[in-house]
């Protein structure tokens, strides 16, 4: 099983994702430099990590979209390959058109780093099968632009196809406004594409997947991926 972690200039969660795939999950993992745009078909899963690609200048993800590797990620995803975009990775996947909607500035207009609770909305994806439906998990967010928005038609589509994978919730699982850290429409924290092979999420599961950090709730994402790849 082989993971590829994309490195854009300004990526800064690349080491963290590499650490999880390689040292915590124990799988072969490589960094993929954005200028080395070659076929990704040798990988079983591509991780687009968080950070500030191109400094988030202009708009998060807006410049990374034009990097040579992004075309390869699109080809890989359209061919059915597993792609997970976390935080800035989610922003890039949206800008690249692999996921619908847009990520706007947080409604507080401030960067927010804190633990939030997520309710599992769809556990029938390659990224979430290790959780149970409705389960509430604690995962940190760290972003300035995580305020998810989509127009009504897109939202309807997302809901109809069960593409909302996680929503911000209270510890009891209520998807209330008070539990919404950034103003995301319908408390959306993460979505997948219709084919279920591309996931984008603002929270950072790689930051809560080890006992020494006091929280292993995020490990299920990576376990789900490995389970899916083992079975397929």
């Amino acid at each position: 099983m082989k993971f590829g972690v994309i490195v854009f200039p300004g990526s800064n969660c690349d080491h963290d994702c590499y650490h999880i795939a390689k040292h915590v999950m124990g799988h072969d993992t490589s960094y993929v430099w954005h200028k080395d745009a070659s076929d990704l078909s040798g990988y079983d899963c591509i991780i687009v990590p968080g950070g500030f690609s191109y400094g988030d200048y202009l708009r998060p993800g807006a410049i990374a979209k034009y990097s040579p590797i992004t075309e390869e990620i699109k080809k890989y995803a359209n061919g059915g390959g597993l792609v997970i975009g976390i935080c800035n990775g989610f922003q890039i996947l949206i800008e690249a058109g692999l996921l619908p909607g847009v990520l706007m500035r947080n409604r507080s207009l401030k960067f927010i780093c804190q633990d939030v609770y997520l309710k599992m909305e769809n556990t029938d994806t390659p990224f979430s099968s290790e959780y149970s439906a409705g389960q509430v998990v604690k995962v940190p967010i760290a972003h300035h632009d995580g305020n998810y928005f989509a127009d009504d038609a897109t939202l309807k589509d997302l809901e109809a196809n069960n593409q909302v994978v996680f929503r911000y919730a209270t510890v009891k699982g209520e998807t209330s406004d008070e539990a919404n850290p950034n103003g995301s429409v319908s408390n959306i924290a993460g979505i997948c594409n219709k084919n279920r092979n591309v996931l984008g999420m603002m929270p950072h599961p790689e930051r809560c997947a080890e006992k020494v950090l006091g929280n292993k709730d995020g490990l299920g994402i990576f376990r789900s991926i490995v389970k899916h790849l083992t079975q397929s």
């Binding site: 200039p9 300004g10 800064n12 040292h23 500030f52 400094g55 780093c113 930051r207 020494v212 950090l213």
Partner: protein, 737 residues
């Protein structure tokens, strides 16, 4: 051309050079300097770069120890942590720029300190900051706080370096002059440390990073003057940060450092190209011939004067082995960064700056870099000390309602929750942060080994105002205490000494006393000073700040799984105070808030007792019997207990009975006696703790038990923990809105 301007007395004065200093310039050169040369002398001999007022005193610091790999004098200090690894760290001020333009001032402060650390070959893994602002009721200071915090966040978050801890105080003495001190710690293999030496005659001098622009010219000189009404006109001397470029520079430099091409490397901080080139050549005893035509620049028409004095950010100067130029360039090309050979190392000890084939400056390096003036400025004990150190507690009325006092204190911006601040900092990136902000010390793990690093930054400047010597000792003691509360053994110190105008004998006296206090305490705790920074002239219209010797301390945890945090863990746990309650009200937050008094003497400090308490705490944590440990600081025992109740994820009450032994109620609850730690442990482990404490000579008292929904202290305090939490939680938020 600027170089053709005649050097008049006005020009000399506007460069911040005194008559005597200019005489010295003439002696060194044996001729009149040209404008460029004068500019170079001006920044190299500025207080900021030359430490001319402080240097004589700083010699007193203990700087050696078996753990020290690199002491003061380099870009950062380096301390051994075993397993072939070391930590490089330093703290630096960016006070003046942050007051003028808070976002960029603070952002570039963070950028600068990170460059100081990665220029040593260390990857920055943790940031902290120490902030002092004025009264939060003033709109200006709401604006400054928002800007400073956003600037720190904007830079550190983009770099992917977690901001894991810090401290902030608000006081009127900072109304005209705020303090922004930034700390970075990096991790490095102990045999792969890079230093700033321009060695090897004929080796190429290479410039990498951002292009040089006209920003920040004479920033170092600005940082060496008092403020007046016109200071805001100096906004153009504040640099603008580009954290994205610095992130690329970091990755490119670390990639290059895996090779053996580099001979020496130094960041271009204050005084930019001038100080980096002079310092590197001075350390190596060499000269440099630099071709200014090759310096990458942002705009056309820049003069040599502007190029040499620019403080554009995100730039590095390095000397590499001859013949490696192309291989070095390939790495910077990969990261889309400028990389230019701008000169050669020479053997004549001269800095020769060439423009279009003509030498535009020729300066002897040694006399300029090492021959900077050293002042033994006159000192005099300030008269105010007698007026303020006269507290007679018998004249203080005892408050009727201690509950109200406790809530007032928790609502003080000096005590309340700092969450509004640290939630804007990414404190988890790199996935090493074991103890998140909000406990006594930040703790990070080191991937691949079992050890952890703890770090903390602390200074109560009110104590330092009342007694600079004792206040400084307390700063060291409290940092060490915070570290042992996390389970770490203190290793070493970096400091950032913020004071007023050193030309005033009273300020110089404060400075000297503070340095003595820090030195004596560092010797006692065996924590040498390995790096640091001095920021003087922190005055506006003649009003100096409180003496603020900011101290950051780094400690080592052998087994990071055994780290400890401050908040209560389980109902039924026994609550113990290690140390002794005294009748100390001087300098306390209680005295300021409830009685409107800033009077001393500050709390007593007995270094032997302090060490006994700290050693007992550390040994008990290492023995695995401690569930929580919290230092008693501002607000005293009652505030510390309240923080234990509410700062964890699950809030928990406590029932406390204190042995008052004749101490006034307010002093017992809110006095700030030093050398006290609140521990919790299971009942069955009390005997073991008593055994450890008695062996070390530390007094202890079992004062109560964790549990319930209230904090109950004798018949003085009875509060619902939700009410306590809400007062504490909104202390900063509600004042900023």
């Amino acid at each position: 051309m600027a170089e053709k301007i005649e050097i008049t007395d006005e020009v000399i004065a506007s460069h911040g050079l005194s008559k005597e200093e200019y005489e010295n310039v003439l002696n060194i050169l044996g001729r009149k300097p040209n404008m460029l040369e004068l500019g170079i002398f001006s920044v190299m001999w500025s207080e900021h770069c030359s430490y001319k007022s402080s240097r004589a005193h700083l010699k007193g610091f203990p700087t050696e120890g078996p753990q020290v790999i690199q002491g003061p004098g380099e870009n950062a200090g380096v301390v051994d942590i075993g397993d072939g690894l070391a930590v490089a760290f330093k703290m630096e001020s960016h006070n003046h720029p942050s007051f003028i333009e808070p976002y960029q001032g603070a952002a570039t402060g963070v950028g600068g300190i990170m460059r100081d650390v990665f220029t040593m070959g260390a990857r920055p893994v943790a940031n902290m900051n120490s902030l002092r602002l004025g009264n939060l009721d003033l709109p200006k200071h709401k604006y400054l706080l928002k800007g400073v915090v956003a600037g720190i966040a904007g830079y550190g978050n983009c770099m992917g370096v977690p901001t894991v801890g810090g401290e902030i105080y608000f006081d009127d003495c900072y109304n005209g002059n705020i303090l922004v001190n930034a700390f970075t710690l990096g991790l490095v293999k102990s045999d792969k440390i890079f230093l700033g030496y321009a060695s090897g005659i004929g080796n190429p001098v290479i410039y990498v990073g951002s292009k040089t622009g006209r920003d920040g010219i004479h920033g170092a000189t600005m940082a060496s003057e008092e403020f007046d009404e016109g200071s805001e006109e100096k906004r153009p001397t504040v640099q603008v940060g580009d954290p994205f470029t610095e992130k690329l520079l970091l990755e490119a430099c670390l990639e290059l450092m895996k090779t053996d091409y580099i001979v020496g490397i130094q960041d271009m901080g204050a005084a930019g190209l001038t100080s980096s080139s002079f310092e590197m050549a001075s350390r190596a005893g060499t000269g440099i011939e630099m071709n200014l035509d090759n310096i990458p620049r942002r705009e056309v028409g820049m003069t040599p004067y502007e190029i040499m004095l620019s403080e554009s950010q995100e730039r590095m100067l390095m000397v590499v082995r001859q013949g490696c130029e192309d291989k070095v360039k390939a790495i910077f090309d990969k990261w889309d960064l400028d990389c230019a050979v701008v000169g050669r190392v020479t053997d004549d000890g001269i800095m020769r700056l060439m423009e279009k084939g003509v030498a535009v400056a020729e300066l002897p390096i040694e006399p300029l870099a090492e021959g900077a003036p050293v002042y033994h400025r006159p000192m005099e004990r300030p008269a105010y000390l007698d007026e303020v150190n006269c507290l007679d507690i018998s004249t203080l009325s005892l408050p009727d309602d201690m509950n109200a006092v406790l809530l007032d204190l928790l609502d003080s911006p000096n005590i309340g929750s700092r969450q509004w601040i640290y939630n804007q900092y990414d404190h988890m990136v790199r996935t090493d942060t074991v103890t998140l902000p909000g406990s006594d010390a930040a703790v990070i793990r080191i991937k691949g080994i079992s050890k952890g690093i703890a770090m903390t930054v602390n200074c109560n400047s009110r104590y330092c105002y009342l007694d600079p010597y004792k206040g400084s000792q307390i700063a060291i003691a409290e940092n060490a205490r915070n570290l042992v509360c996390s389970g770490a053994k203190p290793l070493a110190v970096t400091d950032c000494l913020n004071f007023g105008n050193p030309e005033k004998p009273e300020i110089m006296w404060q400075f000297a006393e503070a340095v003595k206090g820090l030195s004596d305490a560092c010797i006692s705790f065996e924590t040498p000073v390995v790096s640091g920074n001095v920021s003087l002239y922190n005055e506006t219209k003649g009003e100096a700040i409180y003496p603020t010797p900011g101290v950051a301390m780094v400690g080592l945890i052998d087994d990071v799984e055994r780290h400890c945090t401050q908040y209560f863990k389980s109902a039924g746990d026994q609550i113990v105070v290690l140390g002794k309650n005294l009748e100390d009200l001087g300098g306390s937050e209680y005295l300021k808030i409830e009685h409107g008094l800033v009077e001393g003497p500050p709390p007593a400090l007995d270094l032997e007792l302090e060490k006994a308490v700290q050693e007992s705490c550390l040994e008990a944590i290492r023995a695995g019997i401690v569930k929580s440990a919290h230092d008693c600081a501002e607000g005293g025992l009652a505030v510390a207990l309240a923080e234990c109740c509410i700062s964890g994820e699950n809030m928990m009450g406590a029932s406390i009975e204190l042995d008052s032994s004749g101490i006034r109620r307010d002093a017992l609850l809110f006095g700030e006696s030093q050398s006290r730690i609140i521990l919790t442990l299971e009942k069955e482990h009390i005997d073991k703790l008593e055994e450890i404490a008695s062996e070390k000579g530390a007094p202890l008292e079992v004062i109560g038990e964790v549990g319930g929904e209230h904090l109950l202290i004798d018949d003085s305090i009875s509060l619902d923990i939700k009410e306590i939490h809400s007062a504490w939680q909104s202390a900063i938020d509600q004042r900023i809105a």
